[in-house]
C-alpha cells in the first residue's frame, strides 16, 4: 500500500491505496466522487477527464499515487459555492451541448483546460482541442458552440444569441468561418 495526500475539489484527503489504483478509481470508489465517470479502458474517450494541478488529465491514465501532494478539480467542484454554474457549465446548458450527459464531465473539464490555454478558440481550434474526448450523442457541434460561448463569457465579452447551427436562425447558412467571431 502507498500513501497519498491529495486535495480534491477543495477537500484534503489522506489515504492508503494500492499502488495500482487508478486516479479515477480512487475518485469514484474511495472518495465517492462519482461525478467523474469511466467510458473506456484505453484512454480514448476522455469521459474521466479531471484537472490535476491545473492541467487536464485522463484520470484513467494516472495512478492515484501520482496525484500525491497535488490538487485535483473534478466537475463536482467546478460550480461556485453558492451553486451558480461555472461559465463552461452554463454554456453547455445554454447551447444544448449535452444529451445523455455521460461524456459531459470530461468534456467540460477538457474545455476548461482548452480555454485556459486559448481563451478565444476558433471552431477548428476547439475541434482539435477536444479531440481526445468522445461524444456519441451531439455530433459535437453544440459542444463547440458552448466552448466558444464560454470563452467569450469568461473573457467578459457579450454573447450574441443565436440558435446553434440553425440556418433559419439568421436566414442563411452558417459557414464554418463565420462562427469564429472575435470578442471585442
Amino acid at each position: 500500500m502507498a500513501r497519498v495526500n491529495v486535495t480534491v475539489d477543495g477537500v484534503r484527503y489522506a489515504d492508503e491505496v494500492e499502488p495500482r489504483l487508478l486516479l479515477v478509481q480512487y475518485l469514484r470508489e474511495r472518495l465517492g466522487k462519482v461525478g467523474t465517470v469511466i467510458g473506456c479502458d484505453t484512454s480514448n474517450c476522455g469521459a474521466c477527464t479531471v484537472s490535476l494541478n491545473g492541467r487536464s488529465v485522463k484520470s484513467c491514465s494516472v495512478l492515484a499515487v501520482q496525484a500525491d501532494g497535488g490538487t485535483v478539480l473534478t466537475v463536482e467542484g467546478l460550480a461556485n459555492p453558492d451553486g451558480s454554474l461555472h461559465p463552461v457549465q452554463q454554456a453547455f446548458h445554454d447551447k444544448h451541448a449535452l444529451q445523455c450527459g455521460f461524456c459531459t464531465p470530461g468534456m467540460i473539464m477538457a474545455a476548461c483546460d482548452l480555454l485556459a490555454e486559448n481563451p478565444n478558440p476558433s471552431e477548428d481550434e476547439v475541434r482539435e482541442g477536444i479531440e481526445g474526448n468522445l461524444c456519441r450523442c451531439t455530433g459535437y457541434q453544440n459542444i463547440i458552440a458552448a466552448v466558444q460561448a464560454a470563452g467569450r463569457a469568461m473573457s467578459g465579452a457579450g454573447e450574441s444569441e443565436q440558435s446553434p447551427g440553425h440556418a433559419s436562425a439568421n436566414g442563411s447558412p452558417a459557414p464554418r468561418e463565420s462562427r469564429t467571431e472575435v470578442p471585442a
Binding site: 463536482e76 454554474l85 446548458h93 445523455c100 464531465p105 455530433g139 440553425h166
Partner: protein, 822 residues
C-alpha cells in the same frame, strides 16, 4: 381532439433549455455504476476467447480460493434456471431460434460469450480471480461469411438447429396486391441495374458502458440497469426466469445513451439476477469498454443485392431486393425483425409499380446483431439512394432529375406505397429546393466541373440523399401482423396536485432525448400551467408502471400523444368541476391560458389550479365526480409517421492519398411540427455524426478465427470533433395528419439519411476515374485502391471495390471486379 394549428402555442416551439441538464453538468449524476448498496458484491465475467468451441471441461473452483472471492459459477450451475435470452420477434412461423443461454453451458458460439462469473467483495478481486478459472475448449469450425454459411454442407453454428438459416421473410407486390408482379417488371425492363452493397457491421457504442445492480427483495428483485427499456425488461425477465412480474421492479436511472444498443434483455442482466438470488445479496456488474464492444449487440451487417428497373426516360418500373442479414450467433430481443423493418422502406419516396423484398436471416459465429439507430431503415435508405445514383449514371441523367421524376409529388399525399404503407404528408420538392439553395449546389457543380477539367488531384464529389423513414413504432395491429411479441402503444398519466403543480408520468424511458423538457412544454400548453410547474416522472416500473419505452423514434409521436390524451381527460374533468364552481353550463365554458371562464363573461373564471384545489379538498364536487384532478391515457397510433428530408454532401477526395474530407454538409429535414427546436437540432446533429461515421469511419471487423479485431476504441473508430464537419441544418414543415400535435419522429432521421449522401459524394468524386462504388467505410485505403484498381485494369466503368463485385447488365454483362478483401 386537439386541433392542429398553424401557429405554435406558447410553449410548443420554444427552444427551452433542458430541465435534465443541471445534474449532468454538475456531476450530481445517478448512473447505475454510481450506485452502492449495503453488502453489495461485484461480478466479473469470464468470456470465451473462442468463436466456436465445445466446452470440454470447466472448473471454477480455483477462482473460489482467491482472496476476496465469495463465489464463482459456470453455466452448469444455472443450466436449469437461466432459461434463454428472449426473442420477441419470430418473423416467420418456422423461424429457427437455437436458444441463447446467458452463461454458456456446453458450447460457445462467439468470442466474448459469457462462460463463467466470479463474485468478489470488490471489482478488482473478482476480476483478478478470472484467470484462475480453468476451461478446456474443443475447437469447432468457425462460420463467419453469410454466403458460405448458407451453402450446402457448410459447418453449422448450432448443430442441433440443423441449418444456419434462421428464416426467410418475403414480400412481393403482385402477391400482396399492393402493386404489379415483380417478374413482369424484371422481364419487361428497358434498363436494369444490379448492385451488391455491403452494410458493414457497426457497434452502437453508447458512451455509458452497461451496468446492472440487482437487489433480491422477497421472492422477487429490484434491478437498476443502464437500459432503454425498463418495462420490456421487467416483463421479459419475469417470463425468462419464472419470477412473478409483480415481484420485479426495474429502474433505469440516468442512462448514458443507447441508440438501440440498450434495447435488449442482456445475458449480463440475467446473470446478475441469477447470482443475486442464489446468494441472497445485492450484486453489481459493470462492463469494461472492451467487453461492451465484443458482447453488447452489434448492428447492420447485411449483404444487399439490389436490382432496379426503369424505362429509358428514367421512370422506375421495379425494385427487387435480396438481403442476407447476419444475426450473429444468437437471436436477441428483436434481431430477426430489424432487417425486416427495412422491407417497408427500400421503395422509399419513389413510385415503384412493382417491388419484391426477400430477407434471409443467417447465423454466424459473431456477436448477435440487433437494433442500432434506424434499425433496418438506414440499410434500406442506403441501398435505394445508392442505386438511384447508379441508375442515373446508367441513364446519363442527373441524379436529382431522376429523383424528381419518380418521387411522390406533394399533391399526391396521402400516398399508399408499393410496400403497403400510407405516407401521411410530405413535401420533397420544398425540402430539396431549400437544401440546394443552402449548400450552393450550382456553384459547387461548377467547381466540380472545373476541377475535373484541370485534373485537380483533389476532386470534388456531390452526394444526394432524399430520404424518408417510418417512425413512431408502432400501431399495435401492424406489429401483430408482423408477429411481433408486443404492442406499440404508450401510456401517460397526469396528476394535478393540490397546489396546482403537475406530475406527468410517462412510459417512454429517456436516456438523453430530453423528454422531461419536451413533455413539460406539451403539458404547459395543454393545461395552461407554467413550464416550471411540471415534473416528469419516468424510468421506474414502480412509479411509471405502464409503458413500452424509448426506441424507433417513438417517444414523442406515441408517448407524447399519450400525454396529450391524458391532458385532454384532465381538462374534461376540470371543466365539470369548474362549471359546478361557476354555476354555469359546461358547454358555456371556454378554457384558455389555464383558466375556465363563461363565454361572453370576461374576467370571471376559475384557474386550473383553483379547480385542482377544489378537486383535492372535495368539499363540493358535482355528483359522480371523484376527488383529485388526474387522468391517464394509453395511446395506440393509427399509423406511423413519415419524416423526410434532403441531405446534400460536398466532399473533397484527394486522389493521391485517398483521403476524403467533407467540405459542406447540408440537411433540410421535415419532421412536421416541432416541440423544441433546440432538442430537434441536437438529435439531427447526433444522427448525422453516426450516419457519417458509417460512411467514413466505423466497422466491426473479425479475423479469420472470429476474433473481433476492433475490440477497443483504439481500433473501432468513433469520430471525434476533429473528424466531423460543421452541419448546416434547416427544416420544412409538413405536419403529420395522423396525430393531434402534427409531429413526426426525429431521433433516427440524421443517421438514416446521411450515410448514402456521403458515399454518393465519394463515388461522384471518383466517377471520372471509372469507379462506381466504394465499400463502407470509405477509408483512404479503400478509396485509393478503388482508384488504382480502375486505373490499372483499364476496364470500362464497372470496376468496383464493392463486396463480391457488381454488375451492370446493360454494359457487357460481366460482373465487376474481384471482391475487396480489406
Amino acid at each position: 381532439m386537439t386541433a392542429v394549428t398553424d401557429r405554435p402555442a406558447a410553449e410548443i416551439g420554444q427552444p427551452r433549455r433542458r430541465k435534465e441538464d443541471r445534474h449532468l453538468i454538475t456531476g450530481a449524476t445517478n448512473w447505475t455504476d454510481n450506485l452502492t448498496l449495503p453488502g453489495m458484491l461485484h461480478l466479473a465475467i469470464l468470456r470465451s476467447p473462442m468463436a466456436h468451441a465445445r466446452i470440454s471441461s470447466i472448473d471454477v473452483g480455483p477462482a473460489r480460493e482467491r482472496p476476496g472471492v465469495i463465489a464463482a459459477f459456470s453455466g452448469q450451475d444455472f443450466a436449469d434456471s437461466q432459461g434463454n435470452i428472449p426473442c420477441a420477434w419470430p418473423v416467420t412461423p418456422d423461424m429457427v431460434n437455437p436458444g441463447h443461454p446467458s452463461l454458456a453451458v456446453d458450447t460457445v458460439n462467439h468470442v466474448g460469450e459469457a462462460v463463467a462469473v466470479v463474485v468478489g467483495r470488490d471489482r478488482a478481486s473478482a476480476q483478478d480471480a478470472l484467470e484462475a478459472i480453468e476451461v478446456e475448449y474443443e475447437q469447432l469450425p468457425v462460420v463467419l461469411d453469410m454466403e458460405a454459411a448458407v451453402a450446402d454442407g457448410a459447418p453449422l453454428v448450432h448443430e442441433h438447429a440443423g441449418t444456419n438459416r434462421s428464416y426467410t421473410w418475403a414480400f412481393e407486390s403482385g402477391a400482396a396486391g399492393t402493386g404489379e408482379p415483380i417478374e413482369q417488371a424484371l422481364a419487361g425492363a428497358e434498363v436494369t441495374v444490379r448492385r451488391r452493397f455491403v452494410q458493414q457491421r457497426l457497434i452502437p457504442s453508447f458512451m455509458e458502458p452497461r451496468s446492472t445492480v440487482v437487489q433480491p427483495v422477497g421472492d422477487g428483485f429490484t434491478m437498476w440497469s443502464a437500459t432503454q427499456v425498463p418495462h420490456i425488461l421487467r416483463t421479459m425477465l419475469a417470463l425468462t426466469l419464472g419470477v412473478g412480474e409483480h415481484q420485479v421492479r426495474v429502474i433505469a436511472p440516468d442512462v448514458g445513451g443507447g441508440f438501440g444498443g440498450k434495447l435488449q434483455v442482456t445475458p449480463e442482466e440475467v446473470i446478475c439476477v441469477l447470482v443475486a438470488r442464489r446468494l441472497g445479496k445485492p450484486v453489481k456488474f459493470t462492463e469494461t469498454r472492451s467487453e461492451s464492444l465484443m458482447s453488447a449487440h452489434h448492428g447492420r451487417d447485411q449483404l444487399q443485392d439490389i436490382t432496379i428497373t426503369a424505362r429509358r426516360d428514367g421512370t422506375v418500373t421495379g425494385l427487387d431486393v435480396h438481403l442476407y442479414a447476419d444475426m450473429g450467433a444468437y437471436l436477441r430481443l428483436v434481431s430477426p425483425g430489424v432487417p425486416v423493418l427495412g422491407a417497408f422502406m427500400f421503395n422509399a419516396i419513389y413510385k415503384f409499380p412493382a417491388y419484391r423484398f426477400v430477407c434471409e436471416g443467417v447465423f454466424t459465429n459473431k456477436t448477435p446483431t440487433d437494433a442500432y439507430r434506424g434499425a433496418g431503415r438506414p440499410e434500406a435508405t442506403f441501398a435505394i439512394e445508392r442505386i438511384m445514383d447508379e441508375l442515373a449514371h446508367e441513364l446519363g441523367m442527373d441524379p436529382l432529375e431522376l429523383r424528381r421524376k419518380n418521387w411522390i409529388r406533394h399533391e399526391e399525399f396521402p400516398f399508399t406505397t408499393v410496400a403497403g404503407l400510407t405516407y401521411d404528408s410530405g413535401n420533397y420538392e420544398a425540402a430539396t429546393d431549400r437544401a440546394l439553395e443552402l449548400i450552393g449546389w450550382d456553384e459547387l457543380k461548377r467547381e466540380q466541373a472545373e476541377r475535373r477539367r484541370r485534373n485537380d488531384p483533389v476532386q470534388l464529389g456531390l452526394g444526394i440523399s432524399t430520404f424518408t423513414e417510418m417512425c413512431g413504432l408502432a400501431p399495435s395491429r401492424v406489429l401483430g401482423s408482423l408477429s411481433y411479441g408486443a404492442g406499440g402503444w404508450e401510456n401517460a398519466a397526469i396528476r394535478v396536485l393540490a397546489t396546482g403543480k403537475v406530475e406527468v408520468v410517462t412510459g417512454a424511458s429517456a436516456h438523453g432525448q430530453g423528454h422531461e423538457t419536451a413533455w413539460s412544454q406539451i403539458v404547459a400548453d395543454q393545461l395552461g400551467v407554467p413550464f416550471s410547474d411540471v415534473e416528469v416522472i419516468h424510468g421506474d416500473t414502480q412509479s411509471s408502471p405502464k409503458g413500452l419505452d424509448t426506441y424507433g423514434s417513438r417517444s414523442l409521436v406515441v408517448g407524447g400523444i399519450a400525454v396529450v390524451k391524458a391532458a385532454e381527460k384532465v381538462v374534461a374533468k376540470a371543466r365539470r368541476i369548474a362549471a359546478h364552481m361557476l354555476e354555469a353550463n359546461e358547454d358555456d365554458l371556454e378554457f384558455a391560458d389555464g383558466k375556465f371562464s363563461v363565454r361572453g363573461v370576461p374576467g370571471e373564471g376559475k384557474t386550473i389550479q383553483e379547480v385542482a384545489f377544489a378537486a383535492f379538498v372535495a368539499h363540493d364536487l358535482p355528483d359522480g365526480v371523484e376527488p383529485s384532478l388526474d387522468a391517464d391515457a394509453t395511446y395506440d397510433p393509427e399509423n406511423f409517421s413519415f419524416p423526410h428530408g434532403t441531405h446534400l454532401c460536398a466532399i473533397e477526395v484527394d486522389t493521391e492519398t485517398g483521403f476524403a474530407t467533407i467540405r459542406r454538409y447540408v440537411c433540410v429535414d421535415d419532421i412536421g411540427h416541432v416541440i423544441n427546436p433546440l432538442i430537434v437540432e441536437g438529435q439531427v446533429h447526433g444522427g448525422l455524426a453516426q450516419g457519417i461515421a458509417q460512411a467514413l469511419y466505423e466497422e466491426a471487423i473479425y479475423d479469420d478465427d472470429g476474433n473481433l479485431t476492433t475490440g477497443t476504441f483504439v481500433d473501432y473508430l468513433l469520430p471525434s470533433a476533429a473528424d466531423l464537419p460543421h452541419f448546416v441544418t434547416d427544416r420544412t414543415t409538413s405536419p403529420s395528419t395522423t396525430n393531434p400535435l402534427g409531429v413526426k419522429g426525429v431521433g433516427e432521421a440524421g443517421t438514416i439519411a446521411s450515410t448514402p449522401a456521403v458515399v454518393n459524394a465519394v463515388v461522384d468524386a471518383l466517377r471520372p476515374f471509372g469507379v462506381d462504388d466504394v465499400r463502407m467505410p470509405c477509408t483512404p485505403e479503400r478509396i485509393w485502391r478503388a482508384l488504382q484498381g480502375s486505373q490499372e485494369s483499364g476496364r470500362a466503368p464497372g470496376g468496383t471495390v464493392a463486396y463480391g463485385g457488381a454488375s451492370t447488365s446493360t454494359s457487357d454483362g460481366s460482373s465487376g471486379s474481384e471482391g475487396d478483401q480489406l
